[in-house]
Symmetry: C2
Subunit: 215 residues, 2 copies
C-alpha cells in the first residue's frame, strides 16, 4: 500500500491508469475478497481514483471480467498440443487449467457462466481443437470432449476449494453424514489424487471412444 496524493481536477501530467493495471487490480480484488467485491467503485478506490475514471480505459464492467479471464487463461499451458499426442497434451492442459483455477477459485462462478468474449481464450480452444482433430477426433465430437474435460476440472476445483463453504450448514440441517464426510476428506492431497484418478479415467474412456469412432 502506498499513500498517494489526491488527484486534482483536470488531466494528470502522466496517466495514472492503464488497461493492464485495471485488470490486474481487478483480479487481485476478486482473489482476495470474492466475485461480489468487484464493483467499479471499490476497484477505483484500490487504484486511487474515481469510479468514473475507469471508463476512460474500459468500456464496461463485463469487459473487466473478460480481462480477468485473459489473466487466468494466460496461466494455462496448451503448448503440448504443438508436438505431443492428443491424449498426453490434453492431460498437460487439463492439469494446468485446474492449477490456474485453484489459484483463482473466486473467479469461477463468473468465468464459468458469462459468455466468453476474449480472444486469447478462443485462441487456446482453437489450438486444443486442432490438436484433437489431428489426433483423429471428428469435428462433431470436439465440443463434447472439451466440455467433459472442463467440467471435470470445475467439479474438482470446487471439490478442492469450495465444498466446505457450499455445504457448511450440513451438520445443523439434517445431513450429518455429508458433514462428517466433508470433514474427514479435508486433506488437499486427497482431492489432488482424486483428480489424477478421474482424469486418467476420462482419458482411458476417451481413447476407447475414439477407437470406436474410427475402426
Amino acid at each position: 500500500m502506498c499513500v498517494m496524493a489526491a488527484l486534482r481536477r483536470g488531466r494528470p501530467s502522466r496517466p495514472v491508469l492503464s488497461v493492464a493495471g485495471i485488470h490486474a487490480a481487478a483480479l487481485e480484488l476478486v482473489d482476495e475478497q470474492g466475485a461480489a467485491a468487484l464493483t467499479m467503485g471499490r476497484l477505483a478506490e484500490r487504484l486511487g481514483v474515481q469510479a468514473a475514471s475507469l471508463y476512460h480505459h474500459v468500456v464496461d464492467k463485463a469487459s473487466v471480467w473478460e480481462g480477468i479471464r485473459r489473466l487466468v487463461v494466460a496461466e494455462m499451458d496448451w503448448s503440448a498440443f504443438a508436438d505431443r499426442p492428443w491424449d498426453l497434451a490434453l492431460g498437460v492442459w487439463a492439469r494446468s487449467y485446474r492449477a490456474a483455477f485453484i489459484r483463482h477459485v473466486n473467479t469461477m462462478p463468473v468465468l464459468y457462466t458469462a459468455p466468453v468474449a476474449e480472444p486469447l481464450t478462443y485462441q487456446m480452444y482453437q489450438v486444443v481443437c486442432v490438436g484433437l482433430a489431428e489426433g483423429g477426433w471428428p469435428e462433431t465430437s470436439l465440443a463434447e470432449v472439451l466440455s467433459a474435460v472442463e467440467y471435470l476440472i470445475a467439479g474438482s476445483v470446487l471439490d478442492h476449494e469450495a465444498l466446505g463453504e457450499m455445504f457448511g450448514r450440513a451438520a445443523e440441517m439434517g445431513a450429518p453424514l455429508l458433514a462428517a464426510s466433508i470433514r474427514s476428506r479435508s486433506q488437499v492431497v486427497v482431492a489432488d489424487r482424486a483428480f489424477d484418478l478421474a482424469l486418467d479415467g476420462l482419458l482411458i474412456g476417451l481413447r476407447a471412444e475414439l477407437a470406436r469412432l474410427q475402426p
Copy 2:
C-alpha cells in the same frame, strides 16, 4: 395475466402474498428471463405489489434463492435409495437431478455456487449418503462420490443447454473449429445419449473403486 386493482394504503382484507407464491413467481421469472432478471423490484411487480412488501414474507433475496432451490430439488427423485442397490439408486437420482436442472437451467449459475441453506436439500443428501454408506462406501468417500455425480450432471446440462451461448463468438474470434463443432453437435438426442454413456461409465468406475476399497 389478470388485471388487478391497485392496492390501497393499509393492510389488505386478505393477504395478497405468501412465501410459496413468492418462491414460485421467482422461479418463473428466472426460468423465463435468467438469473439476473430476479430483482426484488421485478419480482414484486410480477406479484402486483411493492418491493418493500416482499420483506413481510421473506428475510432477504438470498432466502428467495433458497426457496427456488427447494422447488428444483423437489423435482428430483431419491426414493430409490430406500430399497434398491446403491448403484441403481444413484443412477435414478442422477437422471432425475439432470432432468430437473434441464428444466431450470437459468438457476444453475447461482444454485451451484451459493452456499446451501435449505433443509430439503440437506435431507436429500442425507438419504443419498445413507444409501451409499449402506452400500458399503466408507464415510471418507461419500463427498467425493457425490461431487463426481453432481459435476458430471453440471457438465452435461451446460453442454445440453448453454454451450452455444457460452461460446457464441467462437467463429468471429479465431476458434472456427470450436464453432463448427458446436453447430454440428446441436441435436438434443446426442447430449442425452452422451449423458447416459458417461453416467454408465461413472457407475462402472465407482463399482470398481468400491471393490478395491473393501476386498
